[in-house]
């Protein structure tokens, strides 16, 4: 296990370096001189002296590799540069808005888990019944409906008539509900089907019959014995889902005027505010990579056959 963890972390190093390099390259690849952009944005006259000062501030001197290492050093200390538009430190701005995005992602995750578990389990327990067909239909819808469309439909037909649901900006549960639903629905649909087929497969296995033969309650047989085994293969897909969740926040934030980092990033693209996009990309990649690491590790804990390093087909 320790060895596996070490290996897993070692592979992460080049990947994270690559991520950083691509992020760093954004400035290099962007057409136009960042120093000039910054001067124009701040209404400072573009003179050679001003340009030189701005260049030095941006750390734009020296060969590429040198600049990358400098940038990396600063990034490691939490200095991601300053927003061209607001002039604020990027790290600070992102940290201010990140909780909103994480709240939304967590809400979406909860919705996803709730819908996926209930629909998937029901469909597996009653295959080829109305419930199963409903869950299949939901899955098809979930995979086909664009989230921004779903969000707008929810606003139009649920939130507007309802006095309780709020649709704009941050707030309590009433604000979080619809955005979370929008974010979680599509992902849940896919999971419900995965869980259904995984559960159906597990329910056929002998140890389930053995558990029933021992007189265990049906709730225990399904909820403990079957579910635990059925979820193991799903955990591997979970990492990808988190990517969908993180990426999806961009759209949902836009639809619900949610003040998170996704909205910040989209605005930054319009403003050509490269440092902000850089900061956003770096944070998202970091969160994504860490979550995937956690998923891989938890997978090993969930399935003792892998944890203890002896693989055997049962």
């Amino acid at each position: 296990m320790k060895r596996y963890l070490l290996n897993r972390l070692l592979i992460l190093i080049p990947v994270m370096l690559g991520v950083c390099f691509i992020t760093f390259l954004m400035v290099e690849l962007t057409p136009g001189d960042p120093a000039e952009i910054i001067l124009l944005k701040r209404d400072i006259g573009v003179t050679p002296e001003a340009l030189a000062v701005a260049r030095r501030q941006l750390g734009m001197e020296g060969p590429v590799l040198q600049r990358f290492i400098n940038w990396l050093g600063r990034a490691a200390r939490g200095d991601l540069g300053y927003s061209y538009t607001s002039g604020e430190a990027v790290a600070k701005e992102i940290f201010r808005r990140l909780p909103a995005t994480l709240e939304l992602a967590a809400g979406g995750l909860l919705v996803m888990l709730f819908l996926a578990l209930s629909l998937g389990i029901l469909a597996a327990l009653f295959p080829r019944t109305a419930i199963d067909h409903l869950s299949r239909l939901t899955a098809l819808l979930g995979a086909s409906l664009p989230s921004f469309y779903l969000g707008l439909l929810l606003i139009c037909y649920l939130a507007v008539p309802s006095p309780y649901l709020q649709v704009m900006g941050l707030g309590g549960l009433s604000h979080l509900l619809l955005p979370s639903l929008t974010l979680g629905f599509g992902l849940a649909a896919v999971y419900a089907r995965l869980l259904r087929s995984s559960l159906l497969e597990v329910l056929q296995l002998d140890f389930i019959r053995a558990a029933r033969a021992r007189g265990l309650r049906e709730a225990v047989v399904i909820g403990k014995h079957a579910l635990r085994n059925a979820l193991i293969p799903l955990v591997t897909v979970f990492g990808i889902t988190v990517g969908g969740l993180l990426g999806g926040t961009v759209v949902v934030e836009q639809v619900f005027a949610w003040p998170g980092v996704g909205r910040l990033a989209v605005q930054a693209i319009f403003d050509r505010d490269i440092p902000v996009i850089q900061g956003y990309a770096l944070f998202m990649a970091l969160i994504y990579v860490l979550v995937n690491l956690a998923v891989d590790i938890s997978y090993r804990y969930l399935d003792p056959r892998i944890k203890l390093g002896r693989k055997e087909t049962g």
């Binding site: 140890f207 053995a210 007189g215 056959r305």
Partner: protein, 334 residues
């Protein structure tokens, strides 16, 4: 020793409603199980042995359904019990051991906690007591309790797993133990050990054993009585010595001749012909297309299970009509 009937099965029928038609996997079988004795249910795969076992516990998988008969545990007809009450029977009064020892245990939960979970479901004891009971049971089947308790099923060897499965099945001192092909996944030396273990448990504890097997040798090692099942019906049953020593039914005869331990030096002869398709069972006696001694009447109606000698009963027209005399003489010789 006076025999005490623990389980009495009468006319049990189970069928599967498939898109291709109705399959009568178990078709009106009857037998009784006596305390501290072992009945071996013998037959080829597909004959309905496992379905019988699952029917007794009312665990037949969909689309299967028990269509008739009685399963009386002492005086209580299990088929009439409400679902919740039936659950308290499973594991507590009637336990099941599976063919694949790995299959008895959930692969991702430790062996010990599966014991504890089972005990706690049926007995109002503390977790610590359940744990103690588990240790005692594991030790009772000759396993290193401490080690096995904390192991996951895949960490045990096949033989250890099946011992643990026996211990788990007997953990609550059930009155009936059903062992469905308990040794066919093990290699030969382990087979003998496991059979020995079952036999020892049978002698030391109060329960009755229903051994389901296709293995004649296994049956002859441990069983007191045998019932031979073919296409969902019992074709011959009686005390082991009588059935194996003087088989009456041509199918039993063919089975015995196909087996090295009973062929007695003669050339081994496999049972002729293919097993019948469960969807299209032959009319009359299901064995007649393969039967070397077929009579014209065999194609019309299935023969009833009738007494041959003492407890020995057989479902074959040769004995029911023509064979009375010859059976009489054989019984005298026996």
């Amino acid at each position: 020793m006076p025999q005490r009937t623990v389980l009495h099965v009468k006319g049990l029928s189970t069928s599967f409603n498939t898109p291709e038609g109705i399959v009568r996997a178990v078709d009106g079988i009857s037998f009784t199980l006596q305390q501290n004795r072992c009945l071996a249910l013998i037959g080829e795969s597909g004959a309905g042995k496992s379905v019988t076992a699952l029917s007794l516990l009312r665990l037949v998988p969909v689309p299967g359904k028990i269509t008739g008969g009685q399963v009386c545990l002492e005086d209580c007809d299990l088929l009439k019990l409400p679902t919740a009450a039936m659950r308290t029977i499973r594991g507590k009064e009637m336990a099941l051991i599976f063919q694949d020892p790995l299959a008895s245990f959930n692969p991702v939960i430790t062996v010990g906690s599966q014991f504890v979970e089972t005990i706690l479901t049926h007995e109002p004891v503390s977790k610590a007591t359940a744990r103690k009971m588990t240790f005692a049971k594991l030790t009772g089947v000759g396993l290193p309790a401490e080690q096995v308790y904390h192991s996951y099923p895949f960490q045990l060897s096949g033989g250890m797993r099946q011992r643990a499965a026996i211990a788990l099945a007997l953990a609550l001192q059930p009155r009936v133990l059903i062992a469905d092909e308990p040794i066919s996944f093990l290699d030969v030396t382990l087979q003998l050990q496991i059979l020995g273990e079952l036999k020892r448990q049978l002698e030391e504890n109060r329960f009755t054993l229903l051994l389901i097997t296709h293995d004649l040798a296994a049956a002859s090692t441990i069983a007191d009585d045998v019932a031979v099942i073919y296409a969902g019906r019992i074709v011959e049953q009686g005390p082991l010595q009588q059935v194996f020593g003087r088989p009456k039914h041509p199918y039993t005869n063919a089975l015995l001749r196909s087996h090295p331990s009973f062929g007695r030096g003669r050339r081994l002869e496999p049972v002729e012909g293919p097993s019948p398709s469960p969807l299209h069972l032959p009319a009359g006696c299901a064995f007649h297309p393969r039967c070397p001694e077929m009579l014209p009447c065999c194609c019309n109606a299935a023969p009833e299970l009738l007494g041959a000698a003492g407890e020995h009963r057989v479902a074959c027209y040769r004995f029911n009509t023509l064979g009375i005399k010859s059976i009489g003489t054989e019984a005298v010789r026996a």
